[in-house]
């Protein structure tokens, strides 16, 4: 009884805090620029924490802990790739993007290419990536909340969906950012607390933990090979992870929330610190869970291993049925909940930008929509996207959607990254190259996943679960080839302007 009450209080506290933030932000959510970018008012550290909050999904927190707990070394190795993509973000994309765009990724691509076709296809790619990511989050969220809190799947999806709509609709990017910051703090706090408990048990000596892993689960747990039988599969996933991060629309639009390229740079540094520390810690949580809880118990609670971290918390708090154990588990459940709402809110705002700013304002209205109207359409879009996500989440109940997150990264790496790089760094690049490149990247990534083992199981025509190793080079090659086949843009001034803006920050959106 006492524990249930504690769980409810935690849940109410998180919802109450985020609602208060939304109320505060709603008073400053009066224009399109407020809605998409929080008026570029965030500082580097704030945006860095929000990036971490946007990026670290439940799939990272519960999923990777489970992968490590069930597969040992391969799970750890999988976790490594998630930070590495930020090198590409930092070195190549963040600053020029901040300096040359306004609200969306398409702003940068449309700068010197023909805006209508480029915006249209870029918005479609953004919507597909966001949708794929959203379905993965919603289905995972529904199942996890059901498992952790015991409320029905449909109700969990509905609660999460309603909350994200409220944050975005009323509080815009400012509320979304602060929900993500709060979540990042809670997630780090919970993970560090678990790690400290674990540390006391193993004398803060990783070698002792690894020894127990080898004794309890066998030495093969410390070696590669339990999860990835085909090395090419792992290589393909690695390519998608490291190149996909810099093409994820919901991460890229976060750089518009800061006032300058210097702050954008600082935000990547903050994000890299938090995300890196998190993944190093979560591997220990996974190894700890594999020793203290054991793979059989974890699998019995959830086939995918999602319960590895909550069950470890229960053990560390005193075990099943103890007050401490149940309370610790309730904390993890509350943090997982905060994690999910923060990620989905970021996705809704991204999808709104792609539809309202790119398709409505710039393609349908040719850039001539009234400011008031733009603001209204942006919020209507958020409402529709949110409602659609709830519906899809409920319809997709019980589907195995774990592969969708990796698919989102693969599309981002194959369709978005080549054209981002070429439009920022290659003078000859043109509209034909951009449009065909994005189409080829998108279609090849999706097709290969549909033909692969995730969808067709044993009848798979394409042997790898991740399409990256084929679709990323295809995306680059198509952009390159069709640029050479297409007509040059013949607007050298625009390219010069883009170069000067990207490299010096002269004339950037304030």
């Amino acid at each position: 009884m006492g524990v249930d009450l504690f769980g409810v209080i935690l849940f109410v506290a998180i919802v109450g805090l985020t609602m208060y933030v939304t109320y505060w932000a709603s008073k400053r959510n009066k224009s399109t620029s407020d809605f998409y970018t929080a008026s570029r008012s965030l500082t580097g550290w704030q945006n860095g924490m929000a990036i971490a909050g946007d990026y670290l999904s439940a799939a990272s927190f519960l999923g990777i802990a489970g992968l490590v707990a069930l597969n040992g070394y391969d799970g750890f190795m999988y976790a490594v790739g998630w930070l590495m993509g930020y090198i590409v973000v930092l070195f190549i994309v963040a600053e020029p993007l901040r300096n040359s765009g306004k609200y969306t990724l398409a702003d940068v691509l449309a700068y010197r290419l023909k805006p209508i076709p480029v915006r249209m296809i870029a918005a479609v790619v953004t919507l597909v990536i966001t949708l794929v990511y959203m379905v993965a989050q919603m289905v995972g969220a529904g199942a996890i909340i059901q498992l952790l809190v015991g409320i029905p799947y449909e109700l969990s999806v509905l609660i999460i969906g309603a909350l994200m709509i409220i944050y975005v609709l009323f509080g815009g990017m400012l509320a979304t950012s602060w929900v993500q910051i709060i979540k990042a703090v809670l997630l780090m706090f919970a993970t560090i607390t678990m790690l400290l408990f674990l540390g006391f048990l193993f004398g803060f000596n990783p070698s002792k933990l690894f020894e127990m892993v080898a004794v309890e689960n066998g030495p093969q747990f410390l070696q590669p090979g339990l999860l990835y039988k085909n090395p090419l599969d792992l290589l393909s996933l690695g390519i998608a992870l490291i190149l996909g991060t810099a093409g994820l629309p919901h991460i890229l639009i976060r750089f518009y929330t800061v006032p300058s390229a210097q702050e954008a740079r600082k935000s990547v540094i903050w994000a890299m610190g938090i995300i890196g520390v998190f993944y190093i810690m979560i591997a220990f949580i996974g190894f700890g869970s594999s020793v203290l809880v054991g793979p059989e118990v974890i699998r019995a609670a959830d086939q995918g291993g999602n319960m590895a971290a909550p069950l470890l918390a229960q053990y560390l708090g005193g075990g099943v049925g103890t007050l401490g154990g149940e309370m610790f588990m309730a904390v993890i459940a509350a943090v997982s909940f905060a994690t999910i709402v923060a990620v989905v809110a970021g996705l809704v705002i991204t999808a709104s930008g792609a539809f309202a700013h790119d398709i409505y304002t710039n393609v349908i209205k040719r850039g001539k929509a009234e400011e008031k109207k733009q603001f209204r359409v942006a919020r209507y879009t958020a409402l529709v996207v949110g409602a659609a996500s709830i519906l899809i989440g409920i319809l997709a109940k019980g589907q195995n959607v774990a592969y969708l997150v990796a698919l989102a990264f693969a599309i981002a790496a194959s369709a978005n990254l080549p054209v981002i790089i070429f439009s920022l760094y290659w003078k000859r690049f043109n509209t034909t190259g951009a449009v065909v490149g994005m189409l080829v990247g998108l279609v090849s990534a999706v097709t290969l996943v549909v033909l692969g083992p995730s969808v067709m199981q044993e009848n798979a025509i394409f042997p790898l679960a991740n399409p990256g190793i084929i679709s990323v080079p295809l995306g680059f090659f198509a952009s390159f080839l069709f640029t050479l086949l297409g007509k040059p843009e013949a607007n050298e001034e625009k390219y010069e302007e883009l170069m000067v803006r990207a490299n010096t920050g002269l004339g950037t959106e304030l």
Binding site: P206, F210, Q223, M272, Y425, M499, V500
Partner: protein
């Protein structure tokens, strides 16, 4: 705007851009290749990855954790270089502001 073209065609801007390109691209490309060595070693050098370096800490674990530190190290290096580029860009812009009398 004319000013953009004038800056873009200046020697200083060309030099700044070239210095940036010569820094970012080699680092990023080498880092990508370096990262891909992890799945390759895990796939084709299992005995090496599973060997114990000291007590129960494997080579594979150390090799994996090293990536985090390399990434942080590169980020630090980037920030230092970027400050230098910022400074050069500012000098360049102020030079053009003066020339225009703005």
């Amino acid at each position: 705007m004319e000013k953009y073209s004038e800056i873009a065609r200046s020697k200083e801007f060309h030099k700044l851009k070239q210095a940036k390109m010569l820094f970012i691209w080699p680092v990023v490309i080498l880092f990508l290749l370096y990262y891909l060595s992890l799945p390759l070693l895990a796939g084709y050098a299992k005995p090496l990855m599973g060997s114990y370096v000291f007590s129960y800490v494997t080579f594979g674990y150390l090799y994996g954790v090293l990536f985090y530190f390399v990434a942080w190290g590169l980020a630090y290096w980037y920030v230092r270089k970027a400050r230098q580029f910022d400074h050069e860009a500012q000098t360049l812009l102020s030079h053009y502001d003066e020339k225009k009398g703005a």
